[in-house]
């Protein structure tokens, strides 16, 4: 299945949920509405993109949103996919895909730890790299640590 066909399939099934799409080399890039992330990713898994390489989050502070990025590929097809969903910064909540891929478990915990995105339906959403009592989400662009003393030249 080529990247164009991947986009076609997703668009025909979830017309409104797809905001934008483009093809870059062998990669199908799809921007989606966050409400439909689980269904779209399940459909992509169903058409053979069953290897979740990476799940990360980007702080799009200019538009007041957090972006969840899924990198999908396959061990039998050359095609790859990159799926992006944006959630509001004030209430970042998106459905967990840990029931589709076991690997999403730790990736989602890391995204929660660093960006504060809450994954609805995650089996065990705790901080993973930082300690349990950490305050704030360090990879957000506006993160300030009050323990850091500003440097003042003498």
């Amino acid at each position: 299945m080529t990247p164009d066909e991947v986009i076609e399939t997703i668009k025909s099934q979830f017309g409104d949920a797809v905001k934008a799409s483009e093809v870059k080399g062998v990669e199908a890039r799809i921007d989606i509405h966050p409400e439909k992330n689980y269904e779209i990713l399940m459909a992509l898994k169903g058409i053979g993109l069953d290897y979740l390489n990476c799940l990360s989050a980007v702080d799009r502070i200019a538009s007041g949103e957090l972006e969840v990025v899924y990198n999908l590929s396959s061990l039998s097809l050359p095609t790859k996919a990159l799926v992006r969903a944006r959630v509001p910064r004030e209430d970042p909540i998106i459905r967990s895909v840990a029931s589709l891929w076991g690997t999403a478990d730790w990736h989602e915990r890391e995204a929660f730890d660093m960006m504060g995105i809450r994954f609805d339906g995650h089996p065990d959403l705790r901080r993973i790299l930082l300690s349990e009592d950490w305050v704030g989400f360090p990879l957000r662009k506006d993160y300030q640590d009050e323990r850091l003393v500003p440097y003042e030249p003498v």
Binding site: N53, C54, V58, N71, L75, T103, I128
Partner: protein, 379 residues
Amino acid sequence: MNSHEHETESAERTQETMEEMYVNMGPQHPSTHGVLRLLLKLDGEVVTEVIPYIGYLHRCHEKIGENRIYTQIIPYTDRLDYLASMYNNWGFVLTVERHLGIAVPERAEYMRVILGELQRIASHLIWLGTFGLDLGNFTIFLYCFREREKILDLFESVCGQRLNYAFYRIGGMPLDLPDSFVADCKAFLEWFKPRLPEYDAVMTDNIIFQKRVQGLGILDPKTAINYAISGPVLRGSGIKWDLRRNDPYSIYDRFEFDIPVGTSGDVWDRYMVRRIEMEESVKIIEQALQGLPSGEIIAKMPKKLKPPVGDIYSRVETPRGELGFYIVSDGSEKPYRYKVRSPTFVNLSVLPVIGTGCFVADLVAILGSFDIVLGEVDR
């Protein structure tokens, strides 16, 4: 009280003394290869639950990356997987080069392959030595460190460093190989090849070792794909998947080499995959030394590096699996977002699944067969 009641009562009493308990393995346990803490729920000697706690070595790698210009990130990538620093450099510079669309000169590509594959051998040697140590075989540990020392000498002759090299540059390589390198490297390979049967004598053909690891910690292919396992662990489960062959980067498509795979996905298979991979790396280095061209070693690069707006995910096959970098650029000198997908972070996440139900001593063998590096897990 008749005999039947008596039996029931004693069975209940036994039940009481066999209650489950929690034991911490790590973070300072020698067999966890760093600062990994495993909370084990034990029923006698049997592990009924494994809960890994990571992050003891977290040092804000990604946040630091967002505050550095692209070339400044290279030395930080050394510290990710400190046993395969060359390959981390490569993964990062390749991602930036792909985003910029830079072609690297031929000689630099050959240098990268030679150094990368030497690094793979060095990394597998460390793994083999410490894995043997976990299982009580001290001889193999000394053998492996003896060979690795010679590889580090080669690296020192090339870049002056022995562990953290920071030697790859965006667009090529900073220094040419020293005049004696090709001869030294060939001499090393000739010396190294007869050493491999020595490892077989103390490990592969050792019946105690075979009985210890065969059928242990089985990872089936379906679970492996579900958990996005990569590298020798994935190949041990019988899936012929190597990015050097299946998603080729650099000039790997020019070399002939085999991809060893296992059959049952147990600790033995993962051992054999890495053991054979060392031979395959030797083959690649020999071919690369044969074809090493002369010429430029670095492409023409702008003084200030400002990649265009956009994002890219790119991956390489390190000794431990798929190392991916996801970089978002906003057109400035620094990456807007810099994400590292480290192979052992992902590989370790399957441990609670396959570690459940084995003995504590076997968990040490299973963990050893995963070849984790905590510098990369915690970032």
